[in-house]
Symmetry: C2
């Protein structure tokens, strides 16, 4: 399952090295070509203009997170105007690189970036946090340049890893995935589930940028600016981890360049930054989380900008090699109908596995994921039939759901993820946010109710209905027999959005 | 807040070094005294007897996890009959060392150990998985030697860390905490949340034993027997990490000894083991997870046992220095009543902070925990008044709840934990299992409903009522004003069990 999309990867690298040749100086020490001073100045100016935008729009809203945005200004300017390949006029092009803002509260810098690209107007970004505006406090896919909702921290890397997995193994395309993560949110265990997943599957098309600005909401983080410890953790979890000054555009560009040369490993760029960077009297100070800063603070930043106009740099275009995909929503059929006799004793979980194989035959974009329970949920039937479309996520249900959400973005796949229904509660927050993302994912939870008996209450799904039924726009199927279960799987594949299929452990009579 | 209970610690060490002096040989290479051969043989025999018990009781039940038990047999025999200090006739003595079986499916080895101590009878353990028996598939505190329910994987270390935190900083007592974790479950992010917490607070009274038996339920783990990578991860997360052969009783004893010499860091013992160890044709083989093995397999194990009788070793007694605690349940009062005028505009979250301080005055065992939102939930008022009883858990809500569950065990404290109500969904599984643990914890969730407005749906608690109302025996308070909120906090402190208090963001009129 772990294979390299070699052609795509080498095509990308050669293409990349020529694109900036006209603006590059030779760095003789290591063969890396650093862009020339004009380019660096443009990127620095862009970062400062985005700082100003962040301050302006949060001041106008009288709420929001300008300081969390300012720490990431150079990271975002270098990503958006040098590193990433995308088409600003078509943000969801399947061949474009992906950008996931896991630290969703830094939304002002994201909106500022899309203002710089010309995709948003100043009037639009000035509607930040207004009741009738999609320019929300935390970004959602109501905006065409956002793939997944963020704002509940620590979820972005799982979905980014899901996108990268699909890019490398299913699309086999050149696009890369960049995920910007806050240092505070790296306390969330889901980040480490995703990290282990990314290295297990050698996702060398994934770059996780950690914005280590030292300050959380209510106090400093436990590690502060101890970037070495972040590096050790990420290396231990299988990343190639690079420490940089997150306000040095040249250092960032070099790190992104190195990231592209790493193979068989995901890359982490650990950017040492200052919260509120560039804002006098605010930079690196406590008690500025989630607070607008006085608008006059922009004056000092303006004075640092050389090019007062729009940015002269254009993003690199995508390498258009992502396959055209037709999910056939509404037209996916079981390859053959349910084949049971009334009175046959069949567990609905077994019927789930059977049906999953049948719809897998109907669409090569149906994929299956499991959390080391595949021989209980019977998703292993899909693994046997379609090994290239099965993702073992091990015992990490938050990441299981997060990867599915990422895999479903840009209509690349229809993911069916399974585990014991009780253990979907582990991913309750991810499921809640999946609905905000309008994620087209299907969850099959097995061993529901007291039928699991002697295993005890920790294994019994009793709260699962309350969980899934309270999520807006979700659909819940609780099939009573094998026939209705197979049809529920077929329905699920054809309905847009979050679907939960509840299956049982014991073999029960077929009634339909 | 990070202080050492120095006297308790040194008392323990000196006491410990004398206890086994009569049975120790000198290991001249490092000054460590290894117990003599007789002791080692007793511990090995005990491990094998527990293997036989595990096989017998799962065979009788025709279900259960003998192979996951057998990998941990030597770990458990050395812990229970050499390392841990406890009174087998009084398992919940507050001064006893704690043992948390995070890999709860290995319950047979736990029941076998308590059979060896004489606390359980053979007839009792033979009722494993019977419908009217408390000897369940996964252990719960219905049994007096179990502090927390396990079985949903990856939760044990958080609660063990909560116990260790209370032991070190609140009880300031000698007891130590041992947590046995499976390698498969270490994929759960909650394990890494707990690991970061344990090192941040320098919990040198905590020992996490990782049973690295290589095999998960449905396939091998990603790391297999790569114990070096486990060591790197745990060192990066701030542990002193020791690799041992988990079937070598002498090596285990030495590792536990070293663990006691480590200060200001938690210790991880990474035990390389074989699943099904000792069972011919099953050991280290795939496809034996959660399956009984043929009963005749015990014969070969019996032949390896020298002492066929009961164990000659007795557990070390506790150091009786845990303070006597009276939680005063039913008698905790606000130090003064609510003091508002009808029509005053006060946010219920502010009233929560005010009331928390007032009941903190009424009981020195009320503690508060938060997830880096204390300046929003107003638990920071408690921090200011009682810094020694406030635990900052940073952005890791699973661990926040898990630590609270651990802190509440053995009636040591009444924990109030707070974050945005939306983010309690991150700990839905921990809360579900907390109820199975009969945990006496209180959760205060702020910023409920749409009142958080422009921050967007990811921050809005909409599903929280469904979450808490579906948990058996939980109590939910949704106070409408500051007066009722203060009284809800007072009630919560006096009710046994899980209580959820739902507070709002905006200042609203006092009506009572």
């Amino acid at each position: 399952m772990v294979r390299q999309a070699k052609n795509a990867s080498s095509a990308r690298n050669s293409s990349n090295s020529s694109d900036h040749s006209e603006k590059m100086d030779m760095d003789t020490s290591n063969g890396y070509h650093c862009p020339n001073g004009d380019t660096l100045q443009e990127l620095q100016d862009c970062a400062n203009r985005m700082r100003i935008t962040s301050i302006e729009i949060t001041a106008a809203a009288n709420s929001g997170h300008p300081t969390s945005s300012c720490s990431a200004a150079e990271i975002v300017s270098t990503l958006f105007f040098h590193e990433m390949r995308y088409d600003p006029s078509n943000p969801r092009d399947p061949s474009s690189d992906r950008f996931v803002l896991s630290k969703g509260h830094a939304s002002p810098i994201l909106y500022a970036a899309w203002l710089e690209t010309g995709h948003l107007t100043k009037n639009q970004v000035m509607t930040l946090r207004k009741i009738d505006s999609d320019i929300e406090g935390h970004p959602t896919p109501r905006l065409d340049f956002v793939d997944i909702a963020t704002g509940s921290l620590g979820q972005g890397l799982s979905s980014a890893a899901g996108m990268a997995y699909v890019g490398k193994y299913i699309d086999k395309a050149s696009y890369r995935v960049y995920c910007l993560i806050g240092d505070g949110e790296s306390a969330e265990g889901a980040v480490w589930e995703a990290a282990a997943f990314a290295s297990t599957y050698k996702l060398d098309n994934l770059v996780a940028v950690f914005d280590v600005n030292r300050l959380g909401q209510s106090q400093a983080t436990p590690l502060g600016h101890d970037v070495q410890t972040y590096q050790k953790r990420l290396e231990a979890f299988g990343f190639h981890a690079i420490i940089v000054d997150g306000h040095d555009v040249a250092a960032l560009l070099k790190a992104f360049h190195v990231a592209k040369t790493v193979s068989e490993k995901p890359v982490a760029i650990i950017a040492k930054t200052l919260k509120g960077k560039g804002i006098e009297g605010v930079e690196d100070e406590d008690n500025w989380h989630g607070k607008p800063v006085p608008i006059e603070k922009i004056k000092a930043i303006e004075q640092r900008i050389k090019n007062k106009g729009t940015i002269a740099l254009k993003p690199q275009p995508p390498i258009y090699d992502a396959p055209k995909v037709d999910l056939k929503l509404g037209h996916i059929k079981l390859s053959e109908g349910p084949n049971y006799k009334v009175g046959d004793k069949v567990a609905t979980r077994l019927a789930y596995g059977t049906a999953l194989v049948k719809i897998g035959k109907g669409s090569d974009r149906v994929i299956a994921l499991d959390g080391d329970t595949k021989n209980s949920t019977f998703s292993d039937k899909f693994l046997k039939e379609f090994p290239d479309r099965f993702i073992e996520c091990f015992i990490a249900e938050q990441n299981l759901v997060g990867v599915a959400v990422g895999a479903a973005t840009r209509h690349r796949t229809i993911p069916f993820c399974s585990t014991f229904a009780a253990f979907f509660t582990r991913a309750a927050d991810q499921l809640r946010v999946a609905a905000i993302s309008f994620a087209n994912i299907k969850c099959a939870g097995s061993h529901v109710g007291v039928s699991i008996g002697e295993d005890g209450p920790s294994q019994m799904a009793l709260e699962d209905l309350a969980l899934f039924r309270s999520i807006p726009d979700s659909t819940v199927f609780y099939p009573t027999d094998a026939v209705s279960c197979e049809r529920a799987v077929e329905f699920a594949a054809n309905i847009q959005g979050l679907v939960f299929i509840r299956t049982g452990r014991p073999a029960l009579p077929v009634i339909y």
